[in-house]
Symmetry: D2
Subunit: 342 residues, 4 copies
């Protein structure tokens, strides 16, 4: 193995998924595992599904415990990445699964996160125009939010091709793991099973400015976004139903062609055969995004749907994919494209 990696936040969901993927990665060896309140305990207590690492003991998350690795994956609460990254030195590849360095607009950051803006790092969504070059040249990567990856991949080809107006509506149904592992009353199993409920309605969700940033960059001008996330009774998966008004004369065929062209060579975005629509279950544990698109002529809107696993392509898989690029490895190294189903 060519590289070593530390994982900070190893006892959480994103950290656990990073470790599951790294266990199968042929070029990265797992080094230090760190945590906050769980430091000192065995990983097996928190990630019992990761049997090969069950007896590894979690260290405290500090720059010291994380130092000495080629790659450091940060899966931490917002606000903790900057201090650690500064002390790790410019040669260490730091891949931040948190939000701290995702937004370019400091005002948007402060409006949605309420703290001073830490800065901006190259953005870990390789499928965006220009992203791969930036990732190949950096030691700092900001991994997108899970809703952001889904909505962006569903919508940007149409905006990039100038097929729709810069005005999108996104309703994204998500599994519960995106809310993390901390027990909260509304996330208790009895409340979640059998129930579907929206949250962050009315433009208040923190992924809002990040989706807008991506789409506006591609569209070459401001994109208006209505984004509503909806919690569904499943542990993993996001399905984003997205729509935007089509420009005059744009047909379903034209839109489909734009998506097929855009994603023809993408290893982790797959436009489904005509008439087949994505489901979250198809992507469980895989680094795959499934996409389908059509035009509703009566509504005058394009409808694009994307599905992915929020913890894999939506977080940890996207992180590893971007890290592969930064390390100069083949982008697909160690990343599964077959899901676990049924």
């Amino acid at each position: 193995m060519g590289y070593t990696a530390a994982v900070a936040g190893a006892s959480g969901y994103a950290g656990g998924e990073l470790l599951r993927l790294l266990l199968a990665h042929p070029e990265i060896e797992i080094g230090a595992l760190t945590a906050g309140g769980n430091a000192g305990s065995r990983l097996g207590e928190h990630q019992p599904h990761l049997l090969p690492l069950a007896d590894r003991v979690l260290e405290e998350t500090t720059a010291d415990t994380l130092a000495g690795h080629d790659v450091v994956f940060l899966a931490l609460p917002h606000g903790q990445s900057a201090a650690i990254a500064e002390r790790l030195g410019p040669d260490v590849l730091v891949v931040d699964c948190g939000a701290d360095f995702r937004l370019r607009d400091a005002d948007a950051w402060e409006a949605f996160y309420g703290t001073p803006h830490a800065g901006t790092w190259p953005y870990g969504l390789p499928e965006l125009p220009g992203a791969r070059d930036a990732l190949a040249a950096t030691r700092r990567i900001a991994v997108p939010g899970c809703h952001v990856t889904t909505a962006t991949l569903a919508l940007f080809p149409a905006l990039a091709a100038g097929l729709v107006e810069p005005e999108a509506v996104v309703v994204a149904v998500t599994g519960t793991s995106g809310a993390g592992k901390a027990p909260k009353p509304h996330l208790v199993g009895s409340e979640v099973m059998g129930s579907v409920s929206p949250y962050g309605v009315g433009g208040t969700h923190r992924h809002n400015p990040e989706i807008t940033q991506n789409l506006s960059a591609v569209a070459g001008g401001p994109v208006r976004l209505s984004f509503t996330p909806v919690l569904a009774p499943m542990p993993r998966g996001i399905l984003a139903t997205c729509s935007a008004p089509v420009l005059p004369g744009v047909t379903a065929e034209a839109v489909a062609a734009a998506y097929r062209d855009r994603y023809a060579d993408e290893p982790f975005v797959h436009v489904l055969p005509e008439g087949t629509w994505p489901s979250t279950a198809m992507t469980l544990g895989a680094n795959t995004t499934l996409v389908q698109v059509t035009v509703d002529p009566a509504a005058g809107r394009m409808v694009a749907v994307a599905a992915l696993d929020n913890l894999t392509k939506g977080t940890a898989g996207g992180a590893v994919q971007s890290a592969n690029i930064a390390l100069g490895l083949p982008e697909t190294t160690g990343l599964p494209t077959a899901g676990v189903a049924p």
Copy 2:
């Protein structure tokens, strides 16, 4: 008890829910239970949860077996209601849970259902303007589709009050019982659990023209609709996330006030306290629709969310509610407003 009722299609999901409600209805006695292929078998084989009726034997669905009751509830596949209703006589209250008599536009009917239009009956959504008068004066009721009730109740107050443009986007997450009881490959439990997937995308779902009909009537002109249903891993419930562009100067407060006014006296539509959003689980088994609304100023859109139980308020409860009106009973007779949770 003042009235007797027959239920056609008693072995299906809608029929079962009708019977569950009628068992608790103080003014309606359950008469003949009929079925198609299941005629001759005990109800207990098909509806094991309806213990008080377990030993009732299903008769063949014909006008003869259904005759002799004050009310006949039809929960049949599309296309069977007209022939039966004709033979039942004008004094029998016929409440059709199927689609046959919902649409006024024969062209829309034929485009979406592919058969000749059977006609139009008074529409069983009492909350719509003028609906109660029509229901009080009829012996024929067309019960709305479950998605239609949800989207209509979520959106029509804003259109009626002239607060939004006549252009709506609806993404409705639904449980699996709406697809009925017939076993189909994509509805098998192994496929459904852990998965969310859209269907009828791009304006092709049969509830499309029905939602449009309701909203256009209220808006006083054509409403453009983009409607996408999404299947979620739960047996019951619909949560519709709806949005439309607000007219200039329309605030969240103005929209909320319009909904509170509209639904102030409605027994089965409840606008939640500010900041609280509906979930499907709150409505399980109840005839209640929960609604919340806001405005996203950055997007320039109103977002309204409604949740209900697709089998109760979305089908059988709505049918009983409308029947109560037609029979001259208090509209709320026998209908629960408390759900079963968790």
Copy 3:
């Protein structure tokens, strides 16, 4: 309405189910609703499914707030009932859904609960021999644990009829609501969905001595019990698979006859038709226990399976059923026997 009832612990799952049932009870009017930490807040914040009571404000749980009602239902953590009951006076019917007064054996109490034994009240399982007489004559009722009701109803007829050896194995699969509403890491939805896991293994669950107490009383001598509860991904329901060695010559027919005889007149226990086995979904929200039984000749064991809703017949429904008896009302008053399915 003849009676008023207060509910202590109204913000929890058992309290919520009590209120759901009492809302439909024709002879009991809902009085004070009390809580511990949630006192002062609206019930609607905690039980959003109970719309008719949404604006009721929770009072502090004290003997004073509970006083002045004909019935007081206690749905409190263990250890709090005695002090309250003492101050309520002997004429108030106190129905305790907690464990405090269930066990007759003070040593067993102390071994399993670790606190001094508070005493023993008449036991709220009317189906047990002699129970109805005791309930009719008391103002104090100890409602059984949910696993206890299930296992007892599954097994006691065979022991009472002397058909099996006093040695039972019970594996009870249960929904998550039995664990209550407090958020704990292992009860978070992401952990619960898709997972089945045992708890309280090896005779350590607190329902162990209570099941043993019931079965031994019926058998007329000590019954050995191996009891394992198993958590399953559903909010409600218990399915207990129970077995015991049959005595020589005992056939499936003999066992079935004993169960049919025993439960012939029971309104809330239903022996299913031959060949049909219970499922939890059949009982959702109903006060029903479904039972089936057979003999496995190769194993030399009777196998009895019972299913019920842990919050209804397993807790709140059993409480109301017992209260009905104590109040001199028909035992079935206000209690549904039709479940909510699918």
Copy 4:
């Protein structure tokens, strides 16, 4: 890659899991994919999660289409394996995931399957005494049933060590994928979600004689078995709660030591740390069996619980593990031990 493998029954659940594992197997290349009624269609229509194989076309399942590979995995309905295996020639490794060659007792076969006994092949449960030698020397492997693997691994160490009486009770909670992909009324999602129900009660399930065969061989004499499978609302996973009377003086420590000794070197069976009990979610997609054991002194019984993924270790993973042995590869080649969670 050293070997090629064909998969018969590639459109079903077992076939799909075989393919998912083989995609990650470094020494086996996937050759022909065959099916019955689905022959002629793309694999992507049936296994949309297996993106890398989506465009492979299913051939008809015949000896001809399967010929020419080093390994043939059969995932077929019972009764079809013998004819195919005969024509494949003695040098081809045939791994049968069906039941045809599992039982040694022709009478038991005929009693439970109703057809003539096809014979007996070396048994694909490497953890059983002597199994690895037999597997290393054969070109024909009968893969155990999923319940059988679970119950056998939970119980046999105690029987082999002479710690319990030869008399076991097994209640095995299982996900729905074990019932296969064919849509049946009781497997429809609406019926399955929220429900737990037993099947094959009273010793009638076909895995009964197979579990008995395994346990009796290890115990050196007949073992009496009471086995009840229970369907739970999850796609994958089996959790078997097993118990047997302990012999006098046998302690929890002694039993635990026997299990730790037995499984110390097993790569795919893991005895959990003391106090930790298995859950099915820990094993999703992994070839791992998790085990824990204790003694209930009051009941006089050992309680052993095992969890695994019915499609992985319970079927396809066990098949690949056994094939690895027969091919002379390291037994763990290509088999994951980390599950997908949450």
